[in-house]
């Protein structure tokens, strides 16, 4: 069941896109769509890519919301995301879970690994590549993610005046 959206949902998406183009309060509707159908799936996927431990994980920095905000003007991306989350939920159901978010961490990792290893032109592989790229970009440009790395950036305005010494255990 990873095919196209059904007609009702497609109509709603088109309406959202239209409202978005007119800039008439589009975000709550889009958020509603994601919240209703797929936001927990997206959050679980991102937490599988970037789990908590050795610093915060994806949910700790609100990565799902950040991703939606960063792509809010990109209707095609939203459709891609929704289709992808449906694919993940379907894959989880095939493994006996209620949906992707309800699957165990091990099951979720197995599903993500199958996406990563799928043929390059397979939808699930493209989903993995795109979300891996976007999630990592957003995550590692969020200073909260630097907590586990002993990194005290951004580089300016403070610079690194301790540069000639061995790094201490604290953030540098």
């Amino acid at each position: 069941m990873d095919g196209s959206l059904n007609s009702k949902r497609r109509a709603l998406l088109k309406a959202t896109a239209l409202l978005s183009s007119l800039r008439i309060c589009p975000e709550p509707l889009a958020r509603m769509l994601m919240a209703e159908f797929h936001e927990p799936t997206l959050a679980a996927f991102l937490d599988t890519l970037l789990p908590a431990g050795h610093g915060p994980g994806a949910s700790d920095v609100g990565l799902g919301r950040a991703l939606l905000a960063a792509t809010r003007d990109h209707d095609g991306y939203r459709e891609f995301l929704i289709r992808g989350m449906r694919w993940l939920d379907s894959a989880a159901r095939n493994r006996g879970a209620e949906n992707f978010a309800a699957a165990s961490l091990g099951e979720r990792e197995a599903i993500v690994r199958s996406c990563e290893r799928a043929a390059p032109d397979a939808f699930e592989h493209r989903l993995f590549v795109q979300l891996h790229h976007d999630a990592f970009t957003l995550f590692y440009t969020d200073p909260r993610s630097w907590q586990g790395l002993r990194y005290g950036g951004p580089p300016q305005p403070a610079g690194f005046p301790d540069y000639a010494k061995p790094p201490s255990g604290k953030t540098e």
Binding site: L50, L149, P155, P157
Partner: protein, 558 residues
Amino acid sequence: MSTGDIDAIVIGSGAGGGAMAYALTHAGLRVLLLEAGPSYDPRRDYGLDRDDWEQRRFPHKVATAGRQSFAPMQKLSSMHDDIRSWSRISGHMVEGPERAAWAYHHVVGLGGSTLQYTGEAHRLHPAAMRLRAQFDAGADWPLTYAELEPYYLDAERITGVAGPPQDALRPRSHPFPLPPHAPSYASQVLARGCALLGYSWTPNMLAALSRPYDGRPGCNYCANCNRGCPRRDKGSVDVTFIRRAHQSGRCEIRTGWRVTYLETGAEDRVAAVHARNGNGEELRFVARIVVLAAGAVESPRLLLASAGVGAPDGIGNDDGQLGRHFMESIAWVTSALHPEPLGSHRGLPSDSICWDFNAPDAHPDFVGGCRFSPATAEADLVGPLNYARRVVGGWGRSHKAQMADTFGRVLSLGSFGEQLPNSKSYIDLDPTQRDSDGVPLARIHSHLCDDDFARLRFMASRTRAILAAAGAETIIEEYGTADAFSSTHVFGGCRMGSDPRTSVVDADCRSHRWRNLYIADASVFPSTGGGEAPALTIEALALRTGAVIAAASVRRDL
């Protein structure tokens, strides 16, 4: 200043154009400085204090990709598989059967490529200026190191170069204006490796302030000179030469003006400079003196594209030398993981250097030297995002654990080396592609010879050896010139020489034929040097040419 008041038009505002504008204005001449790109505000434009600083390297306002084209590149040979570019995560970086044309890295803007350079301020090895006479290779410079030395001093003083008290290879008549920077902790680790191998490892000469100077603050070692320096402690020409030229009151700066062609006139003189701006305005600028300083790709292009009456093959191309003798700096970078936390994202990008193989005869098997210096910043491995993508890879729990364990442990070492001129490396006009003004694009022909590959192989082997001796264990990424053109330092195309049959300009960088035309960029270099960064030599040459022009102007010879 109206155009009627102008003594000299300087085309291009990089290392050469900026230094030339300074030299001429401080000699009392009135200068119009034409720059195709915009100006940059260091505090506003360089977003190193932003959370997303790592996502963009230098904030180009004018896209540089596609401003030149590349002729078909040479076939890759399996003989050189040991010096291919590769990553342990993504494999070979060049997939096709030919060398890749990655990029000619440059900046279109006031200050040119010095806006994104690391500030390396090298004098050429004196022997590198005598390749033909001493080693029967390449070409000689028509002037000596001693003749250039006073201008090196001026360039070092104006840009604020910090350097070591001794330089055995390059005689100095005065010390550097600033003391050297202390090496970063990562560079201290590399020093241990060099010591084990018996190599020297000394402070690099850098136009980055080791203490406040010239109204600018000292460096705070953020490691990101390549992204632009918001503090202005790096001696890019916009905050040094051009600032001083502007303060003289005799320099009019016009940004956003693209020169489209030079108009020739009677008595072998360039009569006018034609330029357009982004509003579609087109102007004809006239002055007694024209100085071209657009770099080793764009300067030959403009002269070739200015073919017309009296110069049917391009200005300065009477003997077919224009665009010939184009050279690129040969480069190699190896990045490896060190078992010890280094905090290698800190410090100046290239704060130390090994000059042991810099002389043209340093290696018995080929002519042309090279040098070695830290390259973690050059490799752009100084932030979490690049670690995640290029060093650690993967995802999930193991990725997070490895990120925490790995960050700050990459140690990169780079090497730059000489390329000798060859008949297959040159610049010409693209027969099919033109820019928005209708001017044909410069087309880069890049070719490596057997000696270049041999030198690259030596550079790679020594780089790996130094890293191993320093304790680095796992190589994660290597890239170099063997399979890709990816050069910032380009040279030749308007070679300087005594013989018009083999060069374009004379020892004063004046066109052999066109009496009021001078060139002030690396296109005049007869040789590249053994890996020295060219900016300081470009500046010193421009100051010397500026002095020649000023003296001729006083004599009313121009």
